[in-house]
Symmetry: C2
């Protein structure tokens, strides 16, 4: 099942070589025919790693593998396959993961637990790891520094466009680069969508500091996007620091020296996260939701996500209807403090309701025009405090039903 490219697609940026990273993609025939489905990345000695994984309680075998491997804080390789998620595959699935890591470790000359894994695709079927093991040697031989675009394509499942982001940051006056690739929200026809994101930097950053920054950056990027409120069993964000850049040493715990790096990392993650939303199943419009005036940031976040997850808000946007009534409903159902008589709602920058009622005679024309566009902005002011948060989602369209409701067997 091939889907047309999302109307919200953006172009893959130029992705230059990053010192300490060699990568490549191969067609291992795991499920797809005639396309790449296996990506390998070799990382320089001394590379540190941080990771954030799905909170789903039934995660895939690669998630378990990565959580264990992460304890060492060191990485030399990454192997990603598309077409089979290695989820709900029991002991055999764990064995398949171990075998893949073992084969990569042998080629890379490192310990198994320095190899990270991610799988995405159909679930409940055994991963044909022999195909990975037999494809790896040739793939390893062909690794280069300038195959980022191939890697971005190789991790796709039914994503309609490849996703990448690049930023630079200063550490102690020296410029370092952060660049990453992601996949998401396409379907392994018709199984579940998965978000995978791999970010690399040439900076030298201790694993603990890396983990702390990654955790924070994920909170305001990948944890603030939603396509359909469902949580994949394989969601993975990994951040690798190859340490090849020449900058002053960074303390174990990070600190002020990493402030600019943290900013750039957040930008890369948000850029990739928004590309995932732009490729949301059936998405025709990107929706940004800004909540302010909540009693706390945490409260604002829950309200923003409640709006972002509301099927009634998302179908209204699909219908180009600035339906503030549904927005009020979604605020109320979040269960967070809200006072109906202080609530305000704006669409496209025009306040339609304030202090618990419609603004008589507000100018409808710019709102109607805004709703016809590709990028929709919704703002809510709770009028209670200083809490604020932003979330992103896409509209809910017939395309979503087409993609997810098609008969499999």
């Amino acid at each position: 099942m091939t889907h047309p490219v999302s109307p919200l697609a953006v172009t893959l940026p130029e992705m230059p070589p990053l010192p300490g990273v060699r990568l490549g993609a191969a067609a291992a025939g795991i499920r797809y025919k005639g396309r790449t489905d296996l990506v390998m990345v070799e990382l320089a000695q001394g590379t540190t790693v941080a990771g954030v994984f799905t909170r789903n309680k039934c995660p895939g075998a690669p998630i378990g593998w990565c959580r264990e491997a992460l304890k060492g804080g060191q990485a030399r390789g990454l192997v990603v396959n598309a077409g089979n998620a290695n989820v709900f595959t029991g002991r055999a699935g764990e064995e398949a993961a171990r075998r893949s890591a073992e084969a990569a470790a042998k080629l890379l000359g490192c310990a198994e637990e320095e190899v990270f894994l991610a799988s995405t695709g159909v679930i409940g079927e055994q991963l044909p790891y022999e195909r990975i093991v037999s494809a790896l040697p040739a793939l390893h031989n062909a690794l280069t520094e300038d195959t980022w675009h191939d890697a971005a394509r190789g991790i796709m499942t039914t994503d309609t466009f490849p996703k990448g982001a690049v930023r630079t940051a200063k550490i102690g006056g020296q410029t370092v680069r952060i660049q990453g690739i992601a996949k998401g929200s396409g379907m392994i026809a018709p199984d579940m969508a998965t978000m995978l994101c791999f970010v690399f930097t040439d900076a030298a950053i201790p694993a603990a500091a890396l983990q702390s920054m990654l955790g924070k950056a994920v909170k305001t990027s990948f944890n603030r996007i939603t396509v359909d409120s469902d949580t994949s069993t394989s969601d993975t964000v990994l951040l690798f620091a190859t340490g090849q850049a020449d900058h002053p040493d960074v303390p174990e715990t990070g600190g002020p020296a990493l402030r600019d790096f943290a900013r750039a990392l957040s930008e890369v993650l948000l850029d990739l996260a928004l590309q995932v939303v732009r490729d949301g199943e059936g998405a025709q419009k990107l929706i940004r939701i800004d909540v302010e005036g909540a009693v706390s940031h945490g409260s604002a976040e829950k309200i923003a996500m409640s709006i972002a997850n509301s099927p009634l808000v998302k179908t209204a946007v699909a219908g180009e209807d600035a339906n503030w009534g549904r927005i009020v409903m979604a605020v109320g159902k979040a269960g967070e403090p809200a006072d109906r008589d202080k609530l305000g709602v704006a669409v496209g920058g025009v306040w339609m309701a304030r202090n618990g009622g419609v603004i008589d005679g507000y100018d409808e024309a710019p709102v109607v025009a805004h709703m016809k566009g590709r990028e929709i902005n919704i703002a809510v002011d709770l009028g209670l405090g200083k809490g604020r948060a932003t979330a992103w989602t896409c509209d809910l369209t017939h395309g979503y039903i087409d993609i997810n409701g098609s008969y499999r067997s």
Copy 2:
């Protein structure tokens, strides 16, 4: 916008007169033309009342009115209008509610706070309460004991069929009746769906005992159904006991004498709740989800609702795809204790997966046949404990997008 009658519709049962209840419906022209949109119910002196309302933090004015009125525990009247929800209407909305209650109280010869109110329909527009006030006298004059079907139709918005349920119960050897009407899950085109449910009995039950039973019965009926996870600002369940039946006195706090009544009440509420799901927007299939083996009943309930609210599960059912992978995902995302390697999933009574893996060679034929039917059963066994719960939902189809994504302005 008129929608075809749901393929899951059931027929309104015979609803005989209930001692102490006189009711009727009128066309007050609140929003609709050429149909009834105002329902009035007169209740015998001494009627006790219990109520459960939406948890939405931005509820409509009638919810605020009912919560206050409920403190008295006594009811003499109920006024329900369709076409305007009186939500997000500020002080003027509260005034409109008060005026409606006042007008009804005058006709019924009772205190304002003995009149209960419910409104459903468009939100953010002022309720034209003058139309209610001027329609009430003639409506009051025409109240009879045998217009239950008219009332069931008068509270509809874009429901595709009227909803009613009747049961009998024994209190101290005497037979009493419980019968109710409900509306739900149609849309006030295209504003939000609202569930309203009004249940009446001729039993004599103190308000405290009534409230306690209603709270319990709602937990396993209306709180276990979901159409799209959105929570209306007007959801209301009211239970009135007219005290006209001749049975031994019931203690203030209820107790064993009410055991059979509680059972019948739960049946009435569940019957009505399932009718609401059967009229879910775009519903083509009714889905029942049984969860067992969870660590507790509460945990089972969360897992059942997580499956019921999953768009990926609901679109799979729409596509007649017994996609147990998505069910596993929905179990995992509930955040409740689950062990991948103990999990089992059955569809239509056939176990497709056990102990964390597909059952090799399970019989697909009955599963495929089951998925083609109107009523789909999903069962999940966590294999951890004795917690169990059941939830109901409907599939997610193009009809849902059609109804909710149509352009309003």
